[in-house]
């Protein structure tokens, strides 16, 4: 794709710059990478979508344990298939960029961790989260007892209003106390 830079119109580019945390270069690079993912026939459609499988083939996402969740959270697809438009893709990169604020990052992290999309992190979400992080296979998974203990620890630590779930504000409170989060919640193209 030699024409990638010219494909992005200037007004669009400035709009993207204004609405995301990305710089011009990053946007152009993102566009290049995105167009590489598109199939030939898709390129003529005004707002093409890249199916999730292709997005996941990016080396930046390939081995991320949350890759599917990331796609689902950032996808605006009606079909809930995790496919991304270019704007969704920019949204993703923006949230994971260096200059995104803690609030944005924690917000999206919360959504990524909220596996059942119900607005809170409950026991099930936390279990899935831990399983995602420790590996899904039986050999790597924590035992039931450990998991129970861990989840109760987590809730004890973060569930301020004691309702058995972690909501967004509680989550953000937690995040504000784990300084590594900002630097590690980062995907660079």
């Amino acid at each position: 794709m030699g024409t990638t830079a010219s494909q992005l119109r200037k007004d669009l580019l400035s709009e993207y710059q204004e609405l995301t945390f990305l710089t011009k270069q990053e946007i152009i690079l993102a566009h290049k990478r995105f167009s590489e993912l598109l199939s030939k026939e898709d390129r003529n459609i005004p707002t093409p979508r890249v199916p999730m499988e292709k997005v996941l083939s990016l080396p930046e996402l390939k081995s991320n344990p949350f890759r599917k969740r990331i796609c689902h959270v950032f996808s605006t697809s009606d079909m809930k298939d995790g496919s991304l438009t270019f704007e969704d893709f920019l949204d993703l990169l923006s949230a994971f960029s260096d200059s995104a604020t803690l609030e944005i990052k924690s917000h999206y992290a919360f959504r990524i961790f909220d596996f059942d999309d119900d607005g809170t992190l409950d026991g099930g979400d936390l279990e899935k989260l831990v399983n995602c992080l420790t590996g899904e296979t039986d050999g790597t998974r924590l035992t039931t007892e450990e998991m129970r203990q861990l989840i109760s620890n987590i809730l004890e630590e973060s569930d301020i209003d004691k309702d058995g779930t972690v909501n967004l504000s509680e989550f953000q409170h937690v995040i504000s106390r784990s300084p590594d989060f900002v630097s590690s919640f980062k995907i660079v193209l």
């Binding site: 005004p46 999309d117 420790t134 300084p179």
Partner: protein, 1029 residues
């Protein structure tokens, strides 16, 4: 639907910020995930109608274009904005309508989404449009604020309902909020606005929408007061912004080692990456100091004295690169190579070398200090957050997952490490149980022993270095007497730096053995202990060296500054060699041993702490040397540059990522702090002592501690102290007009004790005040925390109440229903039925109004119970209807044409349907326990149900009329029959089309016609009804 999560847990497309939304989540969750209701998945698109709609959409246009097309279409007609669930438009048909959006718009809406109308034939257009704001769009407005204004909106949309607010109120609230936001944004300056919009946690589309609104409003306002000034200012600000953007761009383009950093981060994570960042940061310091020194000291010197005064017989031999002595000692490399003259003869402008030297060094030190303090402070503020002690910190572990790690193997390793750490954190919890006293005593004994040993070693090393130094002095004197200057003599000068570097290499390794016998409860403590010991070691060695330079070297040699500069140069170079050797032996060899010989050792880890401490040590040397050797930063730059690549290669070839991830940010903060406190402050005091020994001269009669600059070389030759250069300058300025203020400042500020006294006093006062404020805030935080806990308890209590209330209501209804059934069986006449029905309807009506279903027709909503129940009830109705119609018995399938009394028939039919409905209702009471979860997703159902309730209510009133007064029955019964028939037909048709809907698409027009008929009939009824009253 290719949900990746198809377990039916995808219950709530809405995402709630509000913490009040997880009401009664825990019990309902279980029932939700297991229930088998076909409508359990409340996604509108998964209902029959929704699904059909989706398909018809797809039929019309190919997918990708479709979405944007639809979005556009939906957004345009209503101006208001809708938001689907998170990102999509699941509930767009529920979207907001402008407050006074009359029926045409509503109709348009209907036509756009006619699919939704199939199973709600009772939707009459003349009724005031039921505008149920979808919870999801409400949510978006909540999301606007995000946590930014969380406190302003402690309740979510469901909770608004809790307060007895109707949908109108909620919608108004939401609209207000959006308007508010837009207004707020308009009022901001351009830069702030862009930042604010960017910071909204919303999807790109929504941001674009908000931005569009803001810009539209802005341009509207602007068009009213347009003037030249605002125009100009806009242009200027635009230009500035562009300029700023370009600057950032340029900075990013110039960013060093971006790709390498990414690679390292991708493979080893942020912990190791922080080492490289630190290295780069130090490199920047050195580049800056090189530029300053070279620009203000060396270039003028080279301009006025292009060739160094090298004594005859000294030539470049090659070993100088290592020792820094010989040839180099007469060049601009060292202090001694600079002249003390005020340059400026022969047309050149005057340039006072003394002042230049002094001010350059001073300015660099001050700037360095400021930069360090700034980054340390911001780092402390952002990153050094004290976690609650006693908790396992499991969140810290979970949140520290590195999204930037891209290497498959590294990911697996990290998962492994994380699992181990999680398990450790769990076992730590169990281990808190007190150890027996003897064990604890043993531990304390070990601590005491190791600390004594390490401190003793540090002191011993310091002492040995001191004796070595004295030997060095003696040897140098000997050689100076002989004045031979052979190669061996020069090489002998390398002995001291060699020993120092060897100590720096070996002793830390020895320290790291301590961790085998020490048992710290917390692994972090262990790391801190190692860091502290290493710092003590390095600082004691450097302290001894400085003492030696100040005391012995300064009094022994003629051009002692250059000698010190040379010593520092040697230290820097040899340290560099040792770091290289250390990487080779420490990492490469242990890698070979670990993989080839002793498998149990394994591949070495990259020890971030040790490596960073090495860097700090190297930087301390460079800072101390800045006065004695202004061009030492050059060496430092080269050293760091090579080190970067060396470490990178060594890392990728030999090392594995550290097993303990996390806490990288805190470690970084600690490193910056160490760089500031012992390192920079030490170097600064050393330099300041050299420069500023004036107080010593004045105060103490003993002349020995004074440190006069050497007489024969350097810019300050012949002066008592370096600082007297300023004194001389001031004396010069005193006579010149226009510079009196500088002199005044010098005499009243720099040299006055009272000034410093006052300043320190004021600072102390401020520190005290801020401390008090901090204490107050701490108290406040505790109170607020308690408040949150209390509110949580309140919430739980209220929910419990609500549940019991709900249950008791259901029981009551069940009883009523049974009683009514009996009566039904007995009764035979239509009149009686009608009466009973009326009674029941009234009950129902009473119930429903006590349930708080808001009646748009103007019934005052009794606020005894919450809107939660209302939503639940409505949903139940909707579900019942659907279920019933699925079963194929919604209403009597045979519209008896020759009925004697249409009224009775209608009543019967309705009753039958309703009793079935109620069967359904009571069959699944469990599902009703989670109204909140259902609320946003079952919006369509709610709407249908509400419409139905309304229509029923109207019917109810309708029926009431014939009972109270017999005569209108005749006039209304025909219309009534029409209504009922139309309705039946509509439902039949929808039923009919729904059955094959799984295979073929519904004939929308057919249903539509039935619908229209129903509407017409309804209209007629209402007209008549209206006429009568």
């Amino acid at each position: 639907m290719s949900h990746y999560n198809n377990t039916g847990e995808y219950n709530n497309p809405a995402y709630h910020d509000s913490d009040t939304l997880e009401i009664d989540r825990s019990p309902s969750r279980k029932s939700q995930s297991h229930h088998s209701n076909p409508h359990g998945n409340p996604y509108p698109r998964d209902d029959g109608a929704g699904g059909q709609r989706g398909r018809s959409d797809l039929q019309q246009l190919p997918g990708g274009v479709q979405s944007s097309y639809d979005d556009a279409q939906e957004r345009v007609p209503w101006g208001g904005w809708q938001e689907g669930s998170w990102r999509g438009r699941d509930s767009i048909p529920m979207g907001l309508l402008p407050p006074r959006s009359e029926s045409p718009r509503w109709q348009q809406h209907d036509l756009n989404h006619s699919g939704y109308q199939i199973d709600q034939a009772t939707h009459y257009d003349t009724t005031p449009p039921v505008r149920l704001p979808s919870a999801t769009s409400g949510h978006v407005s909540m999301r606007f604020r995000g946590s930014r204004k969380m406190s302003l909106f402690p309740v979510g949309e469901a909770a608004l309902g809790n307060l007895g607010l109707s949908e109108d109120d909620i919608r108004n609230e939401m609209e207000n909020e959006e308007q508010h936001l837009v207004k707020e944004l308009v009022a901001m300056s351009t830069r702030d606005r862009i930042k604010a919009i960017r910071d909204l946690p919303m999807s790109f589309d929504d941001k674009k929408h908000i931005r569009g609104q803001v810009l539209a409003l802005k341009s509207f306002k602007k068009s009213r007061h347009l003037n030249c000034f605002s125009d100009c200012s806009t242009t200027v600000s635009l230009a500035f912004r562009r300029c700023g953007a370009n600057m950032t761009l340029a900075r990013q383009t110039l960013e060093l080692w971006r790709g390498t950093m990414k690679e390292v981060g991708g493979k080893f994570g942020t912990g190791v990456l922080s080492y490289f960042k630190f290295l780069k940061w130090l490199l920047m310091f050195n580049i800056f100091s090189f530029l300053v020194n070279f620009g203000f000291i060396t270039i003028p010197q080279l301009i006025y004295h292009p060739t160094p005064d090298i004594p005859t017989g000294v030539s470049f031999k090659g070993l100088e690169i290592l020792t820094g002595a010989g040839y180099f000692s007469h060049t601009v490399m060292y202090y001694g190579g600079y002249s003390n003259k005020t340059q400026g003869t022969g047309g050149w402008p005057e340039y006072n070398m003394q002042l230049a030297y002094f001010f350059t060094i001073a300015a660099y030190m001050v700037l360095c200090g400021a930069a360090l303090i700034y980054s340390m402070a911001s780092s402390f503020r952002k990153k050094y957050v004290l976690a609650d002690s006693g908790l396992g910190g499991a969140w810290q572990l979970l949140c520290s997952w590195d999204f930037s790690v891209t290497n498959e193997r590294a990911v697996r390793q990290r998962k492994n490490n994380l699992r181990i750490q999680l398990k450790e954190s769990l076992s730590e919890k169990f281990q808190v149980a007190l150890l027996p006293l003897t064990e604890r005593l043993k531990h304390y004994g070990v601590f005491l022993g190791t600390w004594l040993l390490s401190t003793g070693m540090a002191l011993g090393c310091g002492a040995s270095v001191y004796f070595l130094c004295q030997y060095d002095t003696w040897r140098t004197r000997q050689s100076a007497d002989k004045a031979s200057g052979s190669l061996l003599e020069e090489a002998a000068t390398l002995l001291l730096p060699f020993v120092v570097s060897l100590i720096n290499l070996v002793v830390p390794l020895f320290y790291s053995l301590f961790k085998k016998i020490e048992h710290y409860s917390n692994p972090r403590m262990q790391v801190y202990a190692i860091i502290v010991r290493n710092v003590i070691l390095k600082m004691s060695i450097l302290g001894i060296l400085c003492y030696y330079w100040m005391k012995d070297v300064a009094n022994t040699f003629s051009c002692w500054e250059s000698i010190v500069g040379q010593a520092l140069y040697r230290l820097v170079i040899v340290d560099f060699l040792f770091i290289m050797l250390g990487s080779f032996f420490g990492e490469f060899l242990s890698n070979v041993i670990g993989t080839k010989c002793i498998q149990s050792l394994g591949v070495p880890e990259f020890d971030v702490a040790r490596n960073v401490l090495d860097l700090i040590y190297a930087q301390t040397l460079a800072w101390i040397g800045i006065y004695f050797s202004p061009l030492l930063p050059v060496i430092q730059i080269i050293k760091f540059f090579i080190l970067f690549y060396l470490k990178k290669v060594s890392l990728t070839q030999n090392c594995q990522p550290p097993r303990r991830a996390g806490r990288a940010a805190q470690m970084q903060t600690i490193f910056i702090a160490i760089l500031f406190f012992p390192s920079f402050v030490g170097a600064l005091s050393m330099v300041a002592y050299t420069v500023w020994t004036i107080s010593n001269c004045h105060v103490s009669p003993d002349p020995s501690p004074s440190l006069p600059p050497s007489d024969n070389c350097g810019p300050f030759r012949g002066l008592n102290t370096t600082f007297s250069a300023i004194q001389i300058w001031m004396d010069d300025l005193n006579g010149v007009d226009g510079f009196q203020w500088i002199v005044w400042i010098y005499q009243h500020v720099i040299r006055s004790e009272i000034f410093y006294f006052l300043v320190s006093l004021i600072i102390l006062v401020f520190i005290y005040i801020f401390r008090q404020i901090t204490q107050g805030r701490k108290l406040l935080i505790i109170l607020l925390r308690q408040q949150i806990v209390n509110e949580g308890k309140d919430k739980a209590f209220l929910l419990e109440k609500l549940q019991t209330l709900q249950k008791s209501k259901q029981n009551k209804q069940k009883k009523k229903k049974q009683a009514r059934k009996r009566q039904e069986n007995e009764s035979s006449t239509g009149m009686l039925q009608a009466l009973l029905a009326r009674q029941r309807l009234e009950q129902e009506h009473g119930d429903s109004s006590s349930f708080g279903v808001p009646m748009p027709s103007g019934h005052s909503v009794s606020t005894t119970s919450s809107a939660l129940m209302q939503a639940m009830l409505a949903r139940q109705y909707a579900e019942d209807q659907d279920v019933a119609s699925y079963r194929g018995v919604p209403f009597p399938a045979d519209p008896a044409p020759a009925s004697s009394s249409a009224l009775i028939q209608a009543m019967q039919a309705r009753q039958r349907a309703e009793s079935q409905n109620e069967d359904e209702f009571y069959r699944a009471p469990v599902q009703s326990q989670n109204p909140v979860n259902a609320l946003p997703s079952a919006m369509i159902q709610v709407m249908q149900a509400r419409q139905r309730v309304e229509s029923e209510q109207e019917e109810d009133e309708f029926y009431r009329a014939p009972v109270h007064s017999e005569h209108p029955v005749s006039s209304t019964s025909s219309a009534m029959m029409q209504v009922m028939q139309a309705r039946l037909r509509a439902e039949e048709e929808s039923e009919f089309y729904r059955a094959p809907a799984s295979s073929q698409h519904p004939d929308v027009s057919g249903t539509g016609s039935a619908l229209i008929q129903a509407m017409l009939a309804r209209q007629q009824v209402e007209e008549e009804y209206g006429d009568r009253y």
